[in-house]
Amino acid sequence: MKLSLKTILPVAFIIIALFAPLPIATQTYLLHILILILLFSALAQSWNLLAGYAGQPSLGHALFFGMGAYTSGLLTLHTEYFKINPWPSLILGGFVGALLGIAIGAVCFRLRGPYFALATLAATEVARLIVMNSEFTNGAIGITIRVPPPISTPFFTINFTEKLPYYYFSLIIVIISFLVVYILSNSRYGLLLRSIRDDEDAAMTLGVNAFKLKLLTMFISGFIAGVVGALYAIYISYIDPALDPGGVLTLFTSIEPVLITIIGGAATIIGPFIGSVIRIGVGEYLRVLFGWRAGMDLIFFGLIFLIIFFLARKGIWGVIKSRIKFK
């Protein structure tokens, strides 16, 4: 088997990622940042599939993410079973995200480009306002999720008061979602998606069922975002619908995966991860640096972002890719 950079890179990444937390397992803050990087790179990847590959620029990923979070939140709030064991809500959150994706897609996919983006944005705002004003969802107060009890196996015990299990959970989600997008983008399906992105009408005249393909993409994208949202809620153990920035249903959260993907490079597999490292890494660093003044970190981040945007239009990985030829 020929070893190329394309196979070495992901394997190296997984090996490094598996052992990375061990030397810093006691430094919870560092681990916290790593977990956020992983979670948001998976969220960005779900956006990348929909927008980067299929050309459908959603501005409503906070809806899938947030409703995934609310799935785990509501289940623990209203049912005894999930209060003790929130883990099944990961899968349920995924399905909630996916079904919402289908619903939004069925309605909004007749719109193109900017109109699609606006429709998804509006749908998210509607959801946010309803959630904030409904007693069922605890309104603007948000939901607190209890720390899941430890899981004992004959060999070891997983203790969820520590951060390490969340790191590996996030890593699993990242690996699965990146793998799914990688396989899809290199299949016939990926080619069809690109044909829709580049010229939907031409693709349709050649017999591509654009609507069905876009719905399927929305399903997968919504699923990933929902799972990430559910895990995020369990990890942070608190859901805030509207705190700006940081509320799970705000426009800010919808833009987060967009920023991350664009910084890293849209329609590339590694892009979302690179973007996430920069967005979360730089963002957290600035927050610590300017912790004494609220908003200062966002000012600098806005500036840094503008600079990156002007220097590397295709994203960081896009620029690297065009410089180096991969076999």
Binding site: V107, A122, M132, N133, I255, G295, M296, L298, I299
Partner: protein, 287 residues
């Protein structure tokens, strides 16, 4: 029941007046979209900056907020031209690029304002008496704001339809290449159009400051309202925005009768979705 009827008509009148101001801001957004195909997500923040301009001119130099409106207009015209020259110029026609860049700008502006001026809710304490229209009584500030808004909208319309530059701006927004082939410099018209767009946001903000709370994070809501209005009338359709604004203003105002105040924007967004789905080119265009 007479009382309820009065209440409703009073609410409708106030909604109409607020909606007209939203329309001014949306008009600027529509203009910018027309000449450059840029959806300016920082648009509302420029309006908030206009509000603060008016507030500080009043607080520090005791300049009448009525005088601040032309001052804001001139100031934001220059800001808009600079913005077009140095930032918007690079993202003309890029749908995603423009969204992302202007959102970055929005984060930047909101937080600079928060940092410099804090997150307090402020108002400009001016009074212009009280007016009664039959059973409806309207505060003078509303009346003054409404009259000025209408004046601003009419002047803008006259500029766009009667002057040479205005017609050239419209030509560029319809078809930049055809306009260039007729000897119109698209770049120069974009400069003027961008300047005017931001100036409308700034002046609209200065008017809004008469009747509304001023705080840094208001921008995003104003941006969303402007987007809704623009979509109602079709992005780039400048003339129609006044109707879109009035519809949104009245609908939101009437919604306050039945719904809790914090939930009222939902009605606007649902209307927005319905329009997007059934009339994606806007309410007032065919096809």
């Amino acid at each position: 029941m007479v009382l309820l009827g009065d209440l409703i008509s009073s609410i409708v009148v106030h909604g109409l007046m607020l909606g007209a101001i939203y329309a001014t801001i949306a008009m600027g957004m529509s203009l910018i979209f027309g000449v450059m195909s840029i959806k300016n997500l920082a648009h509302g923040d420029f309006a908030v900056l206009g509000m603060f301009t008016s507030f500080w001119l009043f607080t520090l130099y005791n300049i009448s907020p009525l005088l601040s409106i032309p001052i804001s207009f001139a100031l934001f015209f220059c800001i808009g031209m600079l913005l077009t020259r140095f930032i918007f110029k690079h993202i003309i026609g890029e749908m995603l690029g423009s969204i992302i860049l202007t959102f970055g700008l929005s984060i930047f502006m909101e937080n600079v304002m928060l940092l410099v001026w804090g997150g307090d809710y402020r108002t400009i304490p001016v009074e212009y008496g009280k007016y009664s229209l039959g059973p409806i009584s309207v505060s003078g500030t509303y009346v003054v704001a409404f009259v000025l808004t209408i004046l601003l909208i009419i002047l803008t319309q006259l500029f766009l339809s009667k002057t040479k530059i205005g017609v050239a701006i419209r030509a560029v927004s319809q078809d930049p290449e055809a306009a260039e082939s007729l000897g119109i410099s698209a770049d120069r018209m974009r400069l003027v159009g961008g300047g005017l767009g931001i100036a409308l946001a700034g002046a609209g903000g200065a008017i809004l400051a008469l009747i509304y709370y001023i705080y840094p994070y208001l921008g995003i809501l104003l941006t969303l309202y402007a987007l809704i209005i623009c979509v109602f009338t079709g992005l780039g359709n400048v003339a129609g925005t006044i109707f879109g604004g009035i519809i949104i203003g009245i609908v939101q105002a009437v919604a306050t009768i039945q719904l809790p105040y914090s939930l009222t924007p939902v009605v606007g967004f649902i209307l927005f979705l319905l329009v997007l789905i059934f009339r994606p080119k806007g309410l007032f265009t065919r096809g």
